[in-house]
Symmetry: C2
Subunit: 236 residues, 2 copies
Amino acid sequence: MSDGRRPGSDDRKRRSPAPPGTHAAVAVAVDVVPFALREGRLHAALIGVRATEESRLFAFPGGRVQPEESLDVAARRCLERHVPSEGRFLEQLYAFGEPGRDPGSRVVSVAYLALLPRADDADGVHWYPCDDLPPLAYDHGAVADKALERLQGKLAYTNIAFGLLEDGFTLADLQRVYEAVLGRGLDRRNFRKKVLALELVQPLGRVRHGPHRPAELFGFTERALVTVETLLTKKG
Amino acid sequence: MSDGRRPGSDDRKRRSPAPPGTHAAVAVAVDVVPFALREGRLHAALIGVRATEESRLFAFPGGRVQPEESLDVAARRCLERHVPSEGRFLEQLYAFGEPGRDPGSRVVSVAYLALLPRADDADGVHWYPCDDLPPLAYDHGAVADKALERLQGKLAYTNIAFGLLEDGFTLADLQRVYEAVLGRGLDRRNFRKKVLALELVQPLGRVRHGPHRPAELFGFTERALVTVETLLTKKG
DNA sequence: ACAAAAGTGTTCAAAGTACACCCATGA
DNA sequence: TCATGGGTGTACTTTGAACACTTTTGT
């Protein structure tokens, strides 16, 4: 995640207009950063938004918060409208509210982090590797940075990885998830030792076959966010 | 921090009304949780709000976000309107947006954590010990919980304590801050060792006198938030 | 038989934890 | 001289980090 700037000129109205009969001084929206793994790399889902000029911009799925829905519900709605795969994890990230972040109208946006077990294709959804995102609209560069930072942080002391992986993975699969998100390699033996000692995962009693020794398959012990002692320091 | 519930009935309009001519579906406010130490205990600043019934409720300082101000600026404005002592630290906590959290109108409130070096008295401000808060309006019980949790967490791996202490403190003073916030005792020798090894503080070359051996005075090396290795695990 | 990934233990270094005594001063 | 809090060091335990070889299978 690099591009943290908001692009200069982008003057069309943002997503759904304000409800008729209102001229809200400050509107509330949610934006969801959906992460998933594809080909062993961490990707984020983006929606194309057409800038007035030639430039093509992308933004995370989002929209106005409806009068009767909570922020969490709004985030889930916006996620599911665009991204089919069921979200395993959804957590509030940060509220972005600089005047001018959304040119032309004042919008405070509450950003969410979503984790999906797969990066399924769908109409209008574009999956990009997190380390090579296209130009982003609004302040979504900063949103992306915050999301990755949060995910990396929680990887070290929670079981958050369950959001990115279906049960029936090998320990090597799990390690690859960690390595993809953190962007660095981990020692296989130490990683296995810690993950097993913390009882983060449990063996399913099945194996996966391939042109090599079969690998034992595991599932997460708990599929809600759990804080553990310390899973990672510098190597894991 | 205990009371996490929002009280049942509280039907007057909240703080400043919506700007004239608007019926905003969702309004945006900020709420600031100001923490400071008083007599060695962590206190929070609250404003009395008069419930329609007999019950007296309290709420954290807050207010609507103005069209041209950022969330951070709105938070600082609301803090300074009520609490005189200059805030050393102000950080966004979480956005609370359940429908019904503010009876009668839909308000999404972005909560902030503020740290002050002193708990100065001022008109309308009431300082309460964090472990003995009065009944709180809205969902401010949950806000208080989140604020304390954040402060306790960051104490363990940042220099956030600078927000609660003026330069010219003894290491014993600093340790008392940690103990007050965490609610548990720390080993003096190990605490000194870590704080000094991390160069969190630096000696000022002055001492404080009392009916005992003089104590060396210290100041924070850095007065912006800095992340350090690991300051606390179980004892510090 | 070979390639490819799975699985496993030990050693060393660093950090955390527990703990007790002397010091300097003001009253 | 005594009461009060300030200041210091060491031994032990736990945790982290580095590291290489054997196993099992499919082709």
